[in-house]
Amino acid sequence: MHSLDLVVIVGYVLLIIVVGLRVASRVKDAKDFFLAGRSLTWWVIGLSIIGSNIDTNSYVGASGNAYTIGIAQANFEWIGAIPAMIIASLIFIPLYWRAGVYSIPEYLGLRYNQAVRVVTALITSLFAVFAMGVAMWALALVLETYLGWPIWMSILISGAVVGLYSITGGLAAVAFTDALQVSIMFFCGIIIVGLGISELGGFTEFSSALTKDNPDHLSVYLPADHPQSPWPGVILGLGIVLSPAYWIASQAILQRSLGAKSQWDASASMMFAAFAKTFVPLLIIFPGLLALVLNAPIDDSDKALPWIIKNVLPPGLSGLMFVAVIAALQSSLDSSINATSLMVTRDIRHVLFKQHDPARDLVVGRWISLALLLSAMVIAPFISDLGGIFVFLQTGLSLFQGPMLALLLQGALSQRATPTAGLWTLISGVALAGLLQFTDINFYYIAFISFCYSMLAMWLLSFFTTGLPADQLAKLTYRPFLRGSNS
């Protein structure tokens, strides 16, 4: 590695630690730690949302997938994100923000019952620990590839850096460092696009070289019988279920919006993030396509991005791009730690152990953050045994996102859904999705089937069970299309 690259990397690590610790000095209580004292402004949150969203899937997996299937991978950033982000911004975020909750399970607890709150918090926390292990493993892999560090040393050092600011500074430190990290990512992404296109002589030359041997690589949808990305599956499973479930139910994503200083800032932050999201394929899809056009001599598609960084970028910029990749992984990891710590501290501990002392939440939250970080570090070395990162995470998400989405949609937009119906729909919907994993049905269709089942089950079970009183429902449901509605 060039010495200039090393200077850039060390400078970045120091900058992140200084920014994180500076923000950390303002943390006085649990509200500061988990919701940044409800002080965040829309553009910081928006950048932070993208920082949390661009994760292992994106940098390590999506570039590789783009190398294999082309621009169809960008559906995760377009149809698989933008509609759901618009709906989250205009409907769900105002509802959560006004309810004054810290987390999505807390909202579900108010809307249904405490059992639903605990079950959703447990499921999402368990999955988050694995996802954190994956993020930590990917981070270690990148460090091993570029710096030649052993995996264990990479895990220890990256864990220490992330832990230092996320455990002390909480959400505010996470949000500000994320915003900085996303700015670096976009800066590097734009430079890669510029250098790549100019090396090939322009966009027309790039696109004709790409489609010469890979005619479908500039088609956003692949044939309906494509084994990995069939277009009906992408629209039904990703666009209608997985994406809305992620953007309106992911604690790691929505927590920063709940920390906004006003309801408008909370809504605007998600809309601003959607603008940034539209251009994310430049960062994560284009390098994969560029590696293909430049005939990169790689045996594994996941090596497309590392190859581009080593062979297209000059010294200094290559270090900065390396920093951007680390930043992407760090920002997802720190967000997950803070969000999961919140769910364990409040949604599980408060309900199961009857410990409601808010004064202790800050201390407990920090200890839980440390425990989560250590768990991720312990799990990380074993992640490679679980198969491809991308498929593992998507399969995990398809287990519970259909039922979660049904609960949120009917709970937020209808006064009819009852607590008992919510609990049994959640349990049976996850069980159904789990059973379907043993068939050969694509995970997109599994998500769609479990969502349809859950919507129907909620509707039917609510006929025979008792709902919440009208005055409680008034605060917890949002019917913006009715001008005279309570919300």
């Binding site: 621009i71 377009w78 149809i79 933008i82 509609p83 618009i86 709906i87 911004s89 205009l90 409907i91 105002p94 500039l218 088609s219 956003v220 949808y221 692949l222 044939p223 309906a224 019988d225 069939p230 277009w231 009906p232 992408v234 629209i235 039904l236 666009g239 006003s262 309801q263 408008w264 809504s267 605007a268 809309m271 601003f272 959607a274 603008f275 539209t278 049905i441 269709y445 913006p480 299309f481 001008r483 919300s487």
Partner: protein, 67 residues
């Protein structure tokens, strides 16, 4: 049903996506301005995030038309 879906050409995906975005555009304008700017003392035109949503939808329509 899955087999029936698998017989449909890929460009239908583009049409369905564009239709979904147009539907979303209509839905966005059904939300009253007062709900969008709730809590703001003196809401400005640029703070109407329905307009932001329209720009986003136009970008997406462009993408799904082009690719």
């Amino acid at each position: 049903m899955i087999q029936w879906l698998q017989s449909m050409p890929a460009e239908w995906g583009n049409y369905v996506s564009m239709l979904l975005f147009c539907g979303l555009g209509v839905l966005v304008w059904l939300i009253p301005f007062s709900k969008i700017t709730a809590g703001l003392a003196d809401p400005k035109k640029w703070q109407d995030i329905r307009l932001w949503a329209m720009v986003l939808i136009a970008l997406q329509l462009g993408i799904y038309t082009l690719f």
